[in-house]
Amino acid sequence: MRYAETGVNLEIDLSRGNIEKEGTDSGLTELHLGGLGTNAKILWDRVPPEVDPFSPDNLLIFSAGLLAGTPVPGANRTIVSTFSPQTLLMAYSVMGGFWAPELKHAGYDKVIIRGRSPSPVYLWINNDKVEIRDASHLQGKGSLETAELIRQELKEPKAQVAAIGLAGENRVYFASIEQGRSSASRGGIGAVMGDKGLKAIAVRGKKDINIARPAELFELCNEVLKYIEVREENPIPGVMPILAGLGSPQEMKLFDEKWHTTSFMWGNARTRRKDFWNEEIEKKWRETQENVRTRLISCYNCPMKCGAIISVPRISTYMMKCYSKLTYTMAAYSDLDFGFRIAQRATDYGVDGFSTPQVMAFALELYEAGILTDQDMPGMPSDTEGRFFYLLDRIVRREGIGDVLANGTYWAARQIGKGAEEYAHNNIKKHEQLPLKLGMLNPVYYLMYCTGEKANITQIEGQFPQEPFPTREEREEFVKDWFQVPDEKFKQYFLDWDPRGEHSNPYYPTVQMSCEIVDWMEMMHYIDDATGICAGLSSFPLKPPYHIHNLPRVISSATGMDIDEAGLSEIAKRNRTLIRAINVRRGLRRIDEKPPEDHWKKRFPELEANLLDEYYKFKGWNKEGIPTKQTLHELGLDYVSEDLEQREILKDEKSQGKKDQPGPKTKRDSKK
């Protein structure tokens, strides 16, 4: 019997309309756990680097995390993996909600989709019965409406539905996959779903998920819940409110937006408004939020309330979470009311809440600069808010200039030319970033921005405070009950980290310390993305209930595998290294690993080079960021080094790096 996982994947070929159930190798669970780890293994094995994201040969994998559906609180994530039309690298986006546990109860760990359907379809997974059904009547429908219509036509109100909106259908490079209160948004995976002609996947499951050591796991779950209660009653003093508690940032619960609105940039990641927040705005925004927020809501088996039902008068009810209430607001220099209004339409269309507002703000900057003209924007309203709605409507339909903007700022700038490239200034690896511009380089964040495989800071940071606490007393207080650290030395690093002076950014934390801190933070994300435990209870917040000391016991008692801290760290390293290898095979090199040019005012080229050198070494990679043969061997990934050698990506150290052309290569690069 398989524990925690089902041991069965669904293989769907949309070109041929073929459906198969494949038993999986439990040995792979021992090597990669599940979720992102086994997704990466499948993508490495089955999608050669030449395959364009919009090719029938690209795979789109929906995976339940290894622990999803077990009693483990917060284990509910679906990990969607494919290749991104925007970055041309591996894309993986993770969504909460209810889909993954339902899939497990239907009897499957993953749905692996290949091919392309000649006409729009949706997939209906009803326990043992799996059907590809016609979706032509759902074309053009919003994501929430699609889910509702499918539940009605199947007469199955409990079916969980993941669907794309118009943006995915029209292959917008930042299209999301929406699932009620949650979405998998980054990397344009909704566009890949649209390219495959797949409008939605509905799932309903009524089978058991088995636990290997029930009593032990039950005890661990109770400990986690107790800690959550204690932690919720004791928010961390001295940090901004949204980072003081657990969960993803509590944007739906809290009203104090001083930190975001005065520290993050407005417009196209341009303007900092240090004096923006005042009592009058706080009062107005609080009123707005209280008026539209019907209820705070959770994901499956999680006590946190990170989402909310939003009912703005006269527009359809939808669900929201986290920071998207402010991304549109701030990109348009508008207010919260506008944010809630446009987010409804954006959710319906199915677009990413980070990239989309930035693309629109970018377009308006180009218009102000005369690079885009009235000819490009026929009939555009005169007010910024009206213009945002106008642009959103055109982008998701790929109408006129929308067809160009739908490719994201990086590609759009190159298509537009006339100096537009200067305006696409906030990307890493062609992907739009948080609108943040700071003064002094932070070595820890430098490494995370450069090397994060997902090119998304919130998916690598966590655990270690973002900045030093002002006084030693505050730091001492913080480390007192900081038992989550993998090693006591991290407490010392934090104690000695000063806001100014010798022990401050950019030379402290030292290069070595920075490597260790980043490695720890990243490891926790890789574990979560394999188990399906939400980062909001684990890798993201300070002092989370899940950590390297209890996760091995949680995983062992659920699955029956014997895993200790060292073993779990090694699995996380294996998964992380494999994803690096997948991207390296598609062309990723050191030259691509840099933050947006203007992210920090004060830059230190020598230190930065040293940081990358040492971090690569720390990770067991060569100077180009390519895992060495030795590292791959130690992780049992000899098949990877053989492939990289055959492709002459891995060579002996002396000739390394001379012939390589940087950046992912496909036909689209020649369009420049």
Partner: protein, 174 residues
């Protein structure tokens, strides 16, 4: 005096996480906690987020007949579907039937020795949508009926005593 165990349900506090379903199904698994399956839970959350409807319902008595007609409640402008608040395991709906055997499920307030401080669904509801109370009432303690008895009784009602007896005899010979 008899002890009345009460689970108080505050629908306004429910956040729809369904932890109650998870832990209930785990508790009733054999061996205990060895599997999860909300379909086997004796508490189910009836919810429709876009209408802001969240109703945790505890499984009550099995009934062999549907109601004559249905009720629809409107509370605070929200229309609740027929049967929303009903606890019965009944022929008109799928709710509260074991998906494997079709036998009715009924909440037992987590009956076990030594007794739990509170039913597990209450313990796992950190939002306090579910809270627990005990009170004393005049009257005799009813004799508790085991799951087997409730299940068998429903089979007898459905198929007749003779068929059930014959089947049991046949199984025992096999």
């Amino acid at each position: 005096m008899k002890k009345i165990k009460v689970i108080k349900v505050d629908v306004d506090k429910c956040n729809g996480c369904r932890a109650c379903e998870v832990i209930c199904s785990a508790f009733h698994a054999v061996p205990k906690y060895s599997s999860t399956n909300p379909e086997k839970s004796r508490i189910r959350l009836l919810f429709d987020p876009l209408k802001d409807i969240y109703v945790p319902v505890l499984a009550g008595e099995y009934t062999e007949a549907e109601c004559n007609g249905r009720d629809i409640y409107t509370i605070d402008g929200k229309e609740y579907d027929e049967c929303s608040f009903c606890r019965a395991s009944c022929p008109s709906r799928e709710l509260f039937k074991d998906p494997d055997s079709g036998l009715p499920l009924k909440c037992d307030m987590c009956e076990e020795e030594p007794p739990l401080s509170e039913p597990l669904c209450v313990q796992w509801c950190l939002s306090d949508a579910l809270t627990y109370e005990e009170r004393e009432e005049e009257g005799e303690e009813e004799e508790k009926r085991g799951e087997m008895e409730i299940g068998l009784e429903s089979l007898v009602k459905k198929h007749g005593l003779k068929t059930v007896m014959d089947t049991v005899t046949r199984i025992s010979k096999g």
